[in-house]
């Protein structure tokens, strides 16, 4: 098929990466002083901000309070200038609501909600620039923000997307690769135990290839975990220097 070659004969992708290579991840915790926890992540050209408020009292109807655990509330919003084509509404549309639910499902699996009954934890994710892998960037940013807020979690939650082109599994898809229409897999992993918090796949993929793609996504998520771990340690070191320890 004429058009963009997603994987060249030498094994290079459109942006020059190898099949299993992640984009460069840069992150920072504690971006905003007024929120309980905040983090910013850049995964290639995808930029996402996550802000966490909580645990605090349930806002709105008290009937929603759960007697034995905390309520996790997520909102996904992407700026109107984040995509190539200007978006009309930053949040409230179907895709944003779905992403919010997916994030909620992901973090309910990781946050130790039993420690905070009858309270609410708000996670607000804002995508500033979207270049593929927005779900993964949001999950990674939200993990850092939850850690910044001091909310106890079972483990990091690291996410990555994967695709399949020409018999090879590609990790960390960019927008060009996502738009090409091949199968895409989004995976959120708790790295220490290898448990999967969220798995979502679009388009058709033969079941024989599923394991290969899953393995590629899991490996990429573990690589992301290494970077995030380093960011957290550096942040703690900086904070302890400021405190004078």
């Amino acid at each position: 098929m004429a058009g963009l070659e997603l994987l060249s004969d030498q094994g290079y992708r459109v942006d020059g990466r190898r099949a299993g290579e992640l984009r460069k991840i840069q992150a920072r915790m504690g971006v905003f002083a007024q929120a309980d926890g905040s983090a910013y992540i850049e995964q290639g050209n995808t930029k996402a901000l996550a802000v966490v408020y909580g645990p605090h009292e349930i806002r709105g109807s008290r009937a929603r309070a759960l007697p034995d655990r905390a309520l996790v509330n997520c909102q996904y919003s992407s700026a109107t200038f984040s995509t190539g084509e200007r978006k009309r509404r930053p949040h409230g549309d179907r895709k944003s609501c779905e992403m919010g639910l997916q994030l909620r499902q992901t973090f309910e699996a990781a946050i130790l909600t039993q420690l905070h009954p009858r309270s609410q934890i708000d996670i607000y994710v804002q995508v500033l620039q979207a270049d593929g892998g927005t779900y993964a960037a949001c999950v990674n940013a939200a993990t850092l923000a939850v850690l910044d807020a001091g909310i106890p979690m079972r483990d990091f939650v690291c996410a990555c997307s994967a695709g399949f082109v020409d018999g090879t599994a590609l990790a960390d898809l960019s927008h060009v690769e996502e738009a090409a229409g091949g199968p895409q897999l989004a995976l959120a992993l708790l790295p220490a135990s290898g448990q999967i918090a969220l798995l979502e796949m679009d388009a058709r993929l033969h079941e024989d290839h599923l394991e290969q793609v899953l393995e590629a996504a899991a490996r990429a998520a573990r690589d992301a975990h290494t970077v995030l771990d380093r960011v957290v340690r550096q942040h703690v070191q900086e904070a302890s220097v400021l405190l004078g320890d």
């Binding site: 840069q26 920072r28 971006v31 905003f32 002083a33 007024q34 929120a35 905040s38 910013y40 850049e42 050209n45 930029k47 901000l49 802000v51 408020y53 806002r59 509330n73 909102q75 919003s77 700026a79 109107t80 200038f81 984040s82 995509t83 190539g84 200007r86 930053p90 949040h91 409230g92 708000d122 607000y124 804002q126 500033l128 620039q129 979207a130």
Partner: protein
């Protein structure tokens, strides 16, 4: 919430007043309570209250501001006409034609400008146009979740429309490609990330910086034999037109606290202020829009005083903003971009 909105009857002190155990006229605690004789009656109890001050009462916090502002010294050490440290960075988001991020104390604003091809408005066929959209993100406060931030966003967007609603702010004729058919529409999207007081000023500074950073591709209109027009984009991605932001106004918000007015109020100072005046000033000192906000009322002399202060402060703000934007641009495309990572 602290405030000067203290209403009370003659018989009992206001609920926010604390009857002080210490001897009269000597109450000073580590937050800076002020002895009663330093407070004028008007400043203590509200501009229109004639009630006498009770003997032993010291009113906490709310009284801190009026007394202190008589010496042109605020809680954080600034003068009444001083801004907090402003950090401006342009070209933060790459999917846009121009973008800017402004940090003013704890207020964080991100503006992205997207230039799209559109049809000119019927009443102005030779001009392009600007569209403003303000998104108050939930990251500023959980109350903005869902549709909670819509009211504030609409108010800010309407103010932006008003300050740009004049012939000289931006040269809209340069945005016209072919009259009545094609023009550039600039969509200015403001994203409010953190709210630490003085939103309007920060947003107007960010909008000006983003418009300064906007690069609109140069187009040519080719007409073939049948009269059909074809728009051709230049091949060179760096061949762009830059907007002139000389006359783009900036908003200066003046909050009335006690007898004085302050520029660049923090959240706490805004809570203490009954009324504010938004003055939109260009770099030449021309006022394009004046708006009074707040629950209280202002008397006419103070409005004129505030206007003069707004013009003075606005001119200084413009000169420093222009110089810093030019300095950033002179660093060239190879400069190190910090964004949110720094």
């Amino acid at each position: 919430m602290w405030g000067l909105q203290v209403t009370w009857s003659l018989s009992q002190p206001p609920s926010s007043a604390v009857v002080c155990e210490q001897p009269q006229n000597t109450c000073v605690n580590r937050h800076g309570w002020v002895p009663m004789e330093q407070l004028t009656e008007q400043a203590a109890w509200g501009p229109d209250s004639a009630d006498p001050v009770p003997e032993n009462a010291c009113v906490r916090r709310c009284q801190l501001f009026p007394a202190v502002y008589r010496e042109d010294l605020r809680v954080d050490g600034r003068g009444c006409e001083d801004y907090r440290c402003v950090q401006v960075e342009t070209d933060v988001v790459s999917n846009t034609s121009g973008s800017a991020r402004v940090r003013l104390g704890h207020t964080d604003i991100l503006v992205g400008v997207k230039a799209e091809m559109g049809t000119p408005k019927l009443e102005k066929p030779n001009e392009g146009y600007l569209e403003f959209f303000v998104d108050c993100s939930a990251s500023a406060t959980p109350e903005f979740e869902g549709r909670g931030g819509d009211d504030l966003g609409t108010e800010i967007a309407n103010t932006l429309y008003r300050i740009f609603n004049n012939k000289s702010s931006i040269d809209l004729k340069s945005l016209c490609i072919s009259p009545r058919e094609h023009c550039w529409a600039l969509y200015v999207d403001v994203l409010l990330l953190e709210c630490g007081g003085n939103l309007f000023d920060a947003i107007s500074i960010a909008v000006k910086a983003a418009l300064f950073n906007t690069r609109i591709p140069r187009v040519r209109v080719l007409e073939d034999e049948e009269g059909l027009k074809d728009i051709e984009l230049s091949d060179d991605p760096y061949d762009c037109i830059q907007l002139s932001v000389e006359n783009v106004p900036c908003i200066v918000t003046l909050c009335k606290i006690g007898y004085r007015h302050v520029v660049d109020a923090t959240l706490q100072e805004e809570a203490c202020s009954l009324a504010s005046l938004l003055v939109s000033v260009t770099s030449k000192g021309v006022v394009t829009c004046v708006r009074k906000v707040g629950k209280g009322s202002l008397d006419p002399e103070s409005i004129f005083e505030m206007l003069e202060t707004g013009k003075r402060v606005g001119k200084v703000l413009h000169t420093s903003l222009q110089s810093i934007l030019h300095k950033e641009e002179s660093l060239g495309p190879k400069r190190q971009k910090v964004g949110f990572l720094g």
